[in-house]
Amino acid sequence: MKWGVAAGAALGLVGCGSDETGSQGQGGSATPRRGGTLTIAQPTEANPAQALNQNIANQSWRRAVYDCLVDFDPERREVVEGLATAWETSADGKQVVLTLRDGVTWHSGRPFGADDVEFAIDNAINSTPSFQLAWAFQNLQGIDKAGNTVTLAFSEPATSIYDALSLLTIIDRESHDAFVDGTAHVGTGPFVWGDFAPGTNITLRRNENYWLPDRPYLDGMEVRFITRSEALVSAVRSEQVDMGLNLLPLDRGTVEQDGRFDVVAYNTYGAALYVGANVEVEPLNRKEVRQAINYAIDRQRINDELYQGQGKVSAAPWSPTSPAYDEGWAEAYSRDLDRARSLLASAGAIDQVIAVEANAAQSRAAEIVAFNLSEIGLETDIQILEPAVITERFQNRSFAGLYLAFHGWNTLSPVNVVYSAAPLRVDNNLFRFASDEYARLAGELATAVEDDQHAAIEALTEFILDEAFCLDAVHTSNNVVTQQDVHGWAYNVWDEMLFADAWKS
């Protein structure tokens, strides 16, 4: 695994299926070969109507069709080129100057330019549903365009704007309505949108006018939706597909033992299992109870049993890829039943049954948490929720007690997490935790200049850990299996897949 292979560096990212010369696997030629269709199986049906935001349903194809202004190298967490070839933030942090790449055209043939950047940012701010990091533009005062230079002017320092710029889909203003409906996608990426057959597949074809010379190598891609994990693994093992995405840990073990395949675990640890507590529900409105619960939870057992020990145990919501990651914060709630019982004793009498809610995929984790709570004398009621019910709970912020789920925000800069991540955001978070102190600490981080940032992160993290209204349990990796003739694909810090350099031997 190597980051920044040749021109792949322009896209950012951890290259997979790549050795020193840009290839990997036995029997593979070191020289990339042109042609072929890459067939990918993913366990989730794509959602073309939700392509504005990064999400697991569109992780395989969004960046094949669309480019972003910049990207992030997950290993060094450095900004790298995208549609912008240069970027500069002023000393006071209030101005960001982007130099756009020349010679980029939309799939429709129209030239890409500064107007398109302005449209994409306007759309991000005003669209419904909104762009997931729309808050990052809340202090935007204006956009100046001069040739291929775009200057963003902010009223306050935009300290973490590059997260947003690397997630923001640069969409074509001429086909915006079709983009919203999900019926057409016109981007500048290496592949052109073909067909979407609900329940079946997406097909993409090579962008003959891609701005990166001689890329992409592949003639096309097909993303198939195979929702049953065993069927997905069988499709890989019978060589019907070239890649299988989002493998379950047990399935990973199955294919890992077979020398015919390469298995890649993303080093971003970009998915975090968290345990949130609705602080308006008795007894979770008491901080001592929330802390006791976190001391009782056996995070290591969850990691060992559910993720085959592949994840990283952490209470803090920062992944090892995050600039805020700290081993001490990760271990802040190491299991301590005596301390948990002591905290419960100081919290006063508890008569209520605590609801432990989760979706079906997290049911085993919910069982472990419920068992851990019974060890300190708390009575629980496990509720497995349907996806539609969870969506309503999200919208109404109405979880009945504890809620276990995954979030993919743990690789973001901390300030983006506390202003955008639904479980943790300062305003209207899922667990109804509101605090002036929380808002103050977040505000300090948002405006902290470089030297003050560490202290601001430290104060904020200590506060989040102390309040314990939403803490992580385990940070896990995305697992991908490929045939050995697949080379050159990559992923970015947000776990989105990149195929400009992918090829088949």
Partner: protein
């Protein structure tokens, strides 16, 4: 025969109407709102309410029901709440896929069922009888889901002679289409074939014990002639009814089998629609299944009546 056919229609129509009411009512009981899924987790309650109004979900249930039924009767299946695609466009290709799988499974059910039933009668004390009993026991006891997974493991993963899933329309590419169709069709038909085989065996044995066949044997009819010319035609009516019932089972089975084999049929669409709370799509799909099932039952009753005139005379 026409009188018999007409006598069956009112019951069938009434059953469809009652089923439509039941389906509509049950779907309303499902927790969660379809527009909530459309707007995603970040949506505000105000945005949800606005979209519900736009989709007509804020109207009285009675109005929504008659709107739905009225649309169906005029061929308008509505528009999916989630994908915003006309439902006709959404399920059109899926109907073809499911029909292909169901017909192949039905054909296999009949062929295997008859082979098993006749084997059970003619090979009572031979090794073939032991094989028949074993196959019947396994086919009856092992769920379709397990049969499907085992077939994939053996033929796709281990031997790699057949694909593990996916679909190419058989009219588009007969070779590839047949290969992809074979495993799901076998998985779907094994259980039904065993049931049909058992019924046929029992019906044949009953016929073979009848006195009119003693007469035939006394007149010198060969064993083969007794079985094929006399016993089998008289055993068929009850078996046809069982086959009709098994079609209902096949329609239910495709939901599981299609997901195992990534077969893009109605079952896959239904599973996705249920998890996305796409109410209208779920209603349409379930009602279509009910109508097809009732139509098949009526057809099997008519076939029964055609084979056995006594049934017609009961009307």
């Amino acid at each position: 025969m026409l009188r018999y056919t007409l006598s069956r229609l009112p019951t069938a129509v009434l059953t469809c109407l009652v089923a439509s009411l039941g389906i509509f009512w049950l779907v309303q009981l499902l927790p969660g709102s379809p527009v909530a899924m459309v707007l995603g987790e970040q949506a505000t309650p105000e945005a949800v309410a606005a979209l519900e109004a736009e989709a007509g979900l804020d109207r009285p249930l009675v109005v929504q029901y008659f709107d739905w039924i009225g649309g169906l009767l005029t061929g308008d299946l509505g528009v999916s709440y989630v994908s915003r695609v006309p439902i006709g466009d959404l399920i059109g290709p899926a109907v073809g896929a499911t029909l292909e799988l169901a017909l192949a499974s039905l054909l296999l059910t009949i062929l295997m069922g008859f082979a098993l039933g006749i084997t059970g009668v003619v090979a009572r004390r031979r090794p073939a009888a032991v094989a028949y009993r074993l196959f019947s026991a396994l086919g009856f006891g092992v769920p379709e889901y397990v049969v499907g997974v085992m077939l994939v493991f053996v033929f796709a993963v281990t031997l790699r002679v057949l694909p593990a899933g996916g679909r190419t329309p058989i009219l588009e590419d007969p070779g590839a289409g047949f290969q992809q169709l074979l495993l799901p069709a076998i998985a779907l038909s094994v259980h039904s074939a065993v049931v049909v085989g058992r019924f046929l065996e029992t019906a044949l044995n009953q016929q073979l014990d009848e006195e009119y066949l003693d007469t035939a044997r006394a007149k010198g009819a060969s064993r083969r002639r007794v079985l094929w010319r006399h016993a089998l035609p008289n055993a068929l009516p009850s078996v046809v009814t069982v086959i009709g019932l098994r079609i209902g089972h096949l329609l239910g089975g495709v939901v599981v089998i299609e997901t195992i084999f990534a077969w893009p049929g109605l079952g896959t669409v239904l599973v996705n629609a249920v998890s996305a709370r796409d109410y209208l799509l779920v209603q349409d799909l379930v009602l279509i299944s009910v109508v097809v099932f009732i139509a098949v039952q009526v057809a099997s009753d008519l076939a029964h009546a055609a084979l056995d005139p006594r049934v017609r005379l009961e009307v």
